[in-house]
Symmetry: C2
Subunit: 316 residues, 2 copies
């Protein structure tokens, strides 16, 4: 049988897994990223993790057809080069070639959100579609674009930066240097900041009690306080939904994909997020009811999406 290695490189952890040709995980493992290390060190870590994983498994390296790696940055898939990586010291590093030499297998690189999109596309919520856009609501807002079954990454892999689509020109500052990006309104980080601002402005709101009880302000705080009937929390959630629906409607107007899949921690809210979001998005899509717009659903693979998608890069 044929097996595939998938690696999901993150700023904190490196996850890797062995999958079959359909993306089913045979075995997985993770280690802490040497985030202070250079490209060579990190490539060595990934190679080592792959080798130890195969050793622990029932298969041998001979059974592995190819290796896929999701990188938290901009990647040129053709050359296997990392072009730009915000969190790790690998700008311009030939990670593909380095790993290929060490493992003696074809190595495919892609952006980590693109890998997560592929994972959902082949094995998760995107299974029944041909064209899917994944929107991850986490520390930032990430995106993966699959059109007619193929990953769209753009020139030198710099595309799919949907978190840096401006929704409110001149608005909230974004980590990218621009103002008003989707990420500055719809990431989990942004929701936490919006919640904190409401807490400062309304010290008597239940938001404060809920945060105190859980020991911190999280993306869950506003939803929890809203469920307890707090009107300030309801406003926070509604404002969050307003911008999220603007961003999702933009993507539908631009791509008209078959599906938008939402990932990231905020999606743990399930229907509390999804039901009002769908309503608002439909009202904002061009052509309104005359056109069948994209289905909107929540990602189903959780943290495994990235490594599964990386393993599936061989057929993307």
């Amino acid at each position: 049988m044929k097996y595939y290695l998938g690696v999901d490189l993150g700023g904190t952890n490196i996850k890797a897994g062995i999958t079959d040709e359909n993306g089913n995980i045979l075995l997985k493992s993770s280690i802490r990223t040497d985030s202070e290390g250079n490209a060579k060190k990190i490539a060595d870590q990934m190679v080592g993790l792959c080798q130890s994983l195969v050793k622990k498994s029932e298969i041998s390296m001979d059974d592995v057809v190819s290796v896929g790696v999701g990188i938290p940055g901009t990647v040129d898939a053709e050359t296997g080069m990392v072009i730009y990586c915000n969190n790790l010291d690998m700008d311009g590093a030939p990670i593909g070639a380095m790993m290929q030499e060490a493992l003696q297998k074809p190595v495919h690189l892609a952006n980590d959100a693109s890998c997560a999109a592929l994972g959902e596309f082949f094995c998760g919520s995107g299974k029944q579609y041909n064209s899917v856009i994944l929107v991850t609501l986490g520390t930032g807002v990430g995106g993966g674009i699959i059109l007619n079954g193929k990953l769209w990454e753009g020139l030198e892999g710099a595309g799919a930066e949907i978190g840096h689509m401006v929704l409110h020109a001149g608005g909230e500052p974004c980590s990218c240097g621009r103002r008003g990006c989707f990420e500055a309104y719809s990431s989990a980080t942004a929701l936490v900041n919006q919640t904190k601002a409401a807490m400062r402005k309304h010290p008597l709101s239940l938001l404060n009690a809920v945060a105190d009880k859980s020991g911190k302000v999280s993306a869950k705080t506003a939803f929890d306080a809203m469920r307890k009937g707090d009107t300030v929390a309801k406003d926070v959630v509604e404002n969050y939904l307003f911008y999220l629906s603007e961003g999702v409607a933009n993507l539908i107007n631009i791509f008209a994909p078959e599906a938008i899949i939402l990932g990231g921690g905020v999606c743990n809210e399930g229907d509390t997020l999804l039901v009002p979001l769908k309503e608002q998005v439909v009202a904002k899509c061009y052509g309104g009811d005359l056109i069948h717009h994209a289905d909107i659903s929540i990602a189903s693979l959780g943290n495994d999406a990235g490594l599964i998608g990386a393993a599936m890069l061989y057929k993307a």
Copy 2:
């Protein structure tokens, strides 16, 4: 030799042309659109124009391989149905089948901005690229998306509505019912409105004299008054460039295409528009100087882009 018919249906005129397989125009003609007519009437007009054009030419209908039609609305290319057309009464009409029966040739439909993009891609400013996004700055803001040499129109042809990407949530009202769309800031219509507002606010500005002299306020007024040294006009142009650069940078961050091509009347300003636009866009693109971003240029086929692209639909 093989020839192709291209039809560009507009709310005011129907243009048609005979091209060779490379999009070179042999002969073209146009008539006024029966804009009050139903779908059958308009289809008959397009068929009649095609037939009379071939009669006037040196070729016969036997030399025509296929017919392409650009529709000012949402089109399902697979079924040849018009899904949604704002200006003409053809929602749900099987225009493809109607014309195919009358002309006894394969008929391909697409959105008119998609056709213009194809025209520029095969025969104009987009010739040297594989992935191009056309942005037309006219009555509205239209878009055509070509990725890896193929037109991307999305589910039921509803994609590429880039004019309805919101740039300023809750901002200027748009004809689509939303607020803050790209179209509401960057269309020629929007520029005229912005110019008129500045004229009202600054009755002594040169804008007024320039408009009086030409007999109307146009997309040219602010540029002309700026060239004469008027500071109010300069502010109007700078505000226009600010939003246009936001929209173009968004498209680059989302797609990372090889090129963005700008069309429509506003582009007659040439480098006065293009040079400062490029500067602002680069500063707004994710990854900044580390990434080679899309070339930005101005469309070269003018009003023929739509009919050439329609004729070229056979290979799109």
